[in-house]
Amino acid sequence: MSCQIHISVQEAEFDLSAVNRAISADRTDIGAIVTFSGLVRDFNEKPDVLALTLEHYPGMTEQALEEIAQEAAERWPLQAVHVIHRVGRLTPGDPIVLVAVASAHRQAAFDGCNFVMDFLKTRAPFWKKENTRHGDYWVSERSSDAAAARRWKEGDV
C-alpha cells in the first residue's frame, strides 16, 4: 500500500485532531500514529522573544518537504506522512510545525517522525527572525540540528 503524503505550508493554525482523523479515516490497518508538534518558545538565543516571523521559499519549500516525506516512506513501512509548517508572524505558545506519521507498528512511526523532523530542520528552506525586547535578529543554525540529521546517514540509530 502506498504512503499517503500531505504537505502544507500555511499561515493558518492547524488542528492536530483533524489531522489524526484525516489519516485514519476509512481504514483500519494503521496501528500507530506518531505526531510531533513544535511550539514557539519565549526564549531562544536571547530571552524575551516577543514574536517570530517565518520566511520560506515558495515552491522550493513544499518540494523539499515532499522529498523528505518520500525518503522517510522509502526507509520505513509508513502508511501516511503529513507535514504542516506555518509561516508569517507567530507568538510564543503558537504551534509552528506538525509532523504526523502513521504505520502498522509504533517503531517505524516513531523513527519516521524523528527522521522527517531532523531533515526538515536542516534541508527545508525556512528562516526564523526573532523579535525580542532587545531587537530583531535572524536565528542562526544549530550544530546539534546538523548532527541530528547526520546520524541517519551513519546508520547508528
Partner: protein, 282 residues
C-alpha cells in the same frame, strides 16, 4: 544598504525628489550602479463617452475603422517613445508592451490597461502611463467627430514590480500601499516570465542575506552557455563590490531551479538560482 548610499557624491534633493538636485535644478538620475532586475509596471486609464459613441466603436460602424485596434497600436508605439516625451526619463530597451482596451458598456467608457516589462536598471511605470495616455488620446482623436464630450480620466499606475522598491500595488481603496514581497509568489512568476527566451539567470536572495544585500531578486546576464554557481556568485561580487562580504559567507546555501545545489553546479539561461543562509525552520 541602498543604492543611493553608494553614490560617491550626494547631490540628491533633501526631500527625496529624484529628478531635482540639491540646487533645485532638474537632473537625470544616475542609474549606472543600479542593479539590473526584471521590472514590470501596469497602468490604466479610462475614456468616458456617450453611449451611442461606445456602441458605434463596439459594433465597428465607425467611419475611421477599427478604433480599438488603432488605439492599441498607438499605445504600444507611445511606450517606445516615452524617453523622447518626458524630459528626465531614461531611454529603455522594453522587452514587452501590452495594451488592452475593454469597452465597459454599463459605465459608458473604455478601460485601457497597459503592461510594460524589461530587465533593466530603472522602472517602467512612465512607459506604462505613456502607453495608456496615448491610447486614450487616440481614442479621442478617432471619435471626436461624433462625440466632443469624451473625458479621459483615472490615468494611474496600478502595479510595479522589480528594483529596489520591490512589489508595489495600488490598494483597492485607491490609497497606495507598500507590499511585502518576501512571500509573494507573484514576484516569482514575474521573474519566470521575464527571463523566458533571454540569456539571463534570475537570482533570488532570502532572509538575512536578502536584508544584508538590500536586494531580493536580480537578473545576471550570461556571457557563455553555462556558468557554475560559484561563477554566478563571482559575477555578482564583481558588479556589487559591497556584496562581497555577505556573499562570501562559508555557510551560504545555494539552489538551482529550487533544488539544493553545490557551488560546482551548472547554471543555464532561464534558470532560477537562489542564495540563502542555513535554514532554521521547525
Amino acid at each position: 544598504m541602498t543604492q543611493r548610499a553608494n553614490n560617491p557624491v550626494s547631490d540628491l534633493h533633501p526631500e527625496g525628489f529624484t529628478h531635482i538636485d540639491a540646487k533645485g535644478e532638474a537632473s537625470m538620475v544616475d542609474v549606472t550602479e543600479k542593479a539590473v532586475t526584471a521590472r514590470e509596471a501596469v497602468a490604466e486609464a479610462y475614456v468616458e463617452m456617450q453611449p451611442e459613441t461606445l456602441r458605434m466603436i463596439v459594433s465597428g460602424e465607425h467611419k475611421k475603422g477599427d478604433v480599438l485596434a488603432v488605439a492599441r497600436i498607438a499605445g504600444i508605439q507611445a511606450a517606445k517613445k516615452t524617453a523622447d516625451l518626458i524630459p528626465l526619463c531614461h531611454p529603455l530597451m522594453l522587452t514587452k508592451v501590452k495594451v488592452e482596451l475593454t469597452p465597459e458598456l454599463e459605465n459608458n467608457r473604455i478601460r485601457i490597461e497597459t503592461l510594460c516589462k524589461l530587465a533593466g536598471q530603472t522602472g517602467v511605470e512612465m512607459e506604462a502611463l505613456t502607453a495608456a495616455s496615448v491610447a486614450a488620446l487616440t481614442l479621442y482623436d478617432m471619435c471626436k467627430a461624433v462625440d466632443k464630450t469624451m473625458v479621459i480620466s483615472g490615468t494611474k499606475v496600478l502595479e510595479k514590480k522589480g528594483g529596489k522598491s520591490g512589489h508595489w500595488q495600488m490598494a483597492s481603496d485607491s490609497a497606495s500601499v507598500q507590499q511585502d514581497v518576501s512571500q509573494a509568489e507573484v514576484s516569482l512568476q514575474a521573474t519566470n516570465e521575464a527571463t523566458q527566451g533571454s540569456s539571463v539567470v534570475d537570482v533570488r536572495f532570502f532572509a538575512g542575506l536578502r536584508e544584508a544585500l538590500g536586494c531580493e531578486q536580480i537578473s545576471v546576464p550570461l556571457d557563455s552557455d553555462s556558468l557554475t554557481l560559484a561563477e554566478v556568485k563571482e559575477l555578482l561580487i564583481t558588479s556589487h563590490a559591497d556584496w562581497a562580504e555577505a556573499l562570501s559567507a562559508k555557510n551560504l546555501l545555494m539552489s538551482v531551479n529550487q533544488q539544493m545545489a553545490k557551488a560546482s553546479a551548472e547554471v543555464k539561461a532561464g534558470d532560477e538560482v537562489a542564495f540563502f543562509p542555513p535554514v532554521t525552520g521547525g
